[in-house]
């Protein structure tokens, strides 16, 4: 969370809507532990990361949708979810993210 605070401060000062994604759980191998966080603003700008770069693109899409709809959600990326999501971790693990608007 620490590494994205400066960007989020700036976005909040600019009055931009922001969504925050956190790794909440991990099955098998994964690059970032629970607590790793990434913030996305309404323009699609990104701070922080939740994986080694494998799923960040898809997280931006989800986060923009969360900003639009205001709905919080848990999202899973990994090889077992190939049918639901086109992206996964190259290391073969499954990553669970909670994505929510920064309205708290």
């Amino acid at each position: 969370m620490k590494e994205l605070l400066n960007d989020v401060d700036r976005w909040q000062r600019q009055g931009k809507a922001v969504a925050v994604a956190r790794v909440i759980d991990l099955d098998g191998s994964g690059p970032r532990l629970p607590g790793a966080a990434m913030a996305v603003n309404e323009d699609g700008e990104v701070a922080g990361s939740v994986s080694g770069g494998c799923v960040e693109g898809a997280v931006v899409t989800e986060a923009l949708d969360v900003i639009e709809s205001g709905d919080r959600r848990t999202v899973t990326f990994g090889y077992s979810d190939d049918e639901a999501f086109a992206v996964g971790l190259t290391c073969g693990g499954t990553i669970h993210l909670f994505i929510e608007p920064l309205d708290w």
Partner: protein, 263 residues
């Protein structure tokens, strides 16, 4: 204008101030997204039920003390062994402490590597000419004092995730630094020196009343057997030993091998 974000603001300020804080968020069950912000002195927000708040706040303090982040499950009113409500607990513990005794070249390198890993670094030496902020710009604190006097002050706060590194290789500093580190709960005590210095020091420690069990707590000679030589490489071997000790991995430590350290 962005919406007001009071919980985030409090969390942000605490993270920046490095004061311990944890955030609990409901991720499944009634009121997904509701939040309870917990510090050792206060709770803010609510997960929507007073009993649930009370139980979660208690658990969060335990997770925060251990520096753990993860999901815990409860009944709607905080019941154990039920799983209607899933709560994600993010801990932001204070950074671990690295206390380095001896203001030598290795100290500057260890201070730097320790900062990189997120430690709060204190350098302590009794000699004012050497223990200066100018020589150790990355240290959070440079203390001119005797090791035992510093540890009498800060020792009670040291825990399993903290580390003491004794780099003086001078018996008149080493012995009091080690004996006073041994009465704390610090997780790592590493002591620098050649094999000969180590053997000589062990005799002095036994003379000073240090027991076998206490000797076994010491990582001496300090560091993993990486074969490096420079202060920077030595610093890496020290922090690598700390990581391996925490994770319980078996890696070649100098303490557990024989023969010259530099070969």
């Amino acid at each position: 204008m962005a919406a007001e974000t009071p919980i985030f603001t409090q969390l942000r300020d605490a993270i920046r101030a490095e004061s311990p804080i944890a955030l609990a968020t409901t991720i499944e069950g009634p009121g997904v997204g509701s939040k309870l912000l917990v510090t050792p002195d206060s709770t803010t927000g609510s997960l929507g039920n007073a009993d649930l708040d009370r139980v979660v706040a208690r658990d969060v303090l335990g997770e925060l003390a251990a520096g753990r982040t993860g999901i815990r499950r409860y009944g709607p009113e905080g019941q154990a062994r039920e799983d209607d409500v899933a709560v994600f607990i993010e801990s932001y513990a204070s950074p671990p402490q690295m206390v380095i005794f001896g203001a030598v070249d290795f100290t500057a390198a260890l201070a730097r590597v320790s900062k990189f890993l997120g430690y709060r670094v204190t350098v302590c030496d009794a000699r004012p000419v050497f223990a200066t902020k100018k020589r150790f710009p990355l240290a959070d604190e440079v203390v001119v004092d005797w090791p035992d006097r510093l540890l009498a002050k800060i020792g009670p706060d040291l825990g399993q995730l903290d580390a003491v590194a004794v780099l003086t290789h001078d018996a008149k500093f080493d012995i009091p630094a080690i004996t006073s580190a041994l009465v704390t709960n610090v997780g790592y005590i590493g002591v620098m020196g050649s094999r000969r210095t180590h053997d000589d020091r062990t005799v002095r420690l036994i003379d000073a009343g240090v027991t076998e069990d206490e000797l076994a707590r010491l990582r001496s000679p300090i560091g993993l057997d990486l074969g490096g030589r420079t202060p920077e490489e030595t610093a890496i071997s020290i922090v690598a030993e700390i990581i391996a000790l925490r994770t319980g991995r078996i890696v070649p430590a100098l303490r557990d091998t024989e023969g010259p350290i530099h070969r």
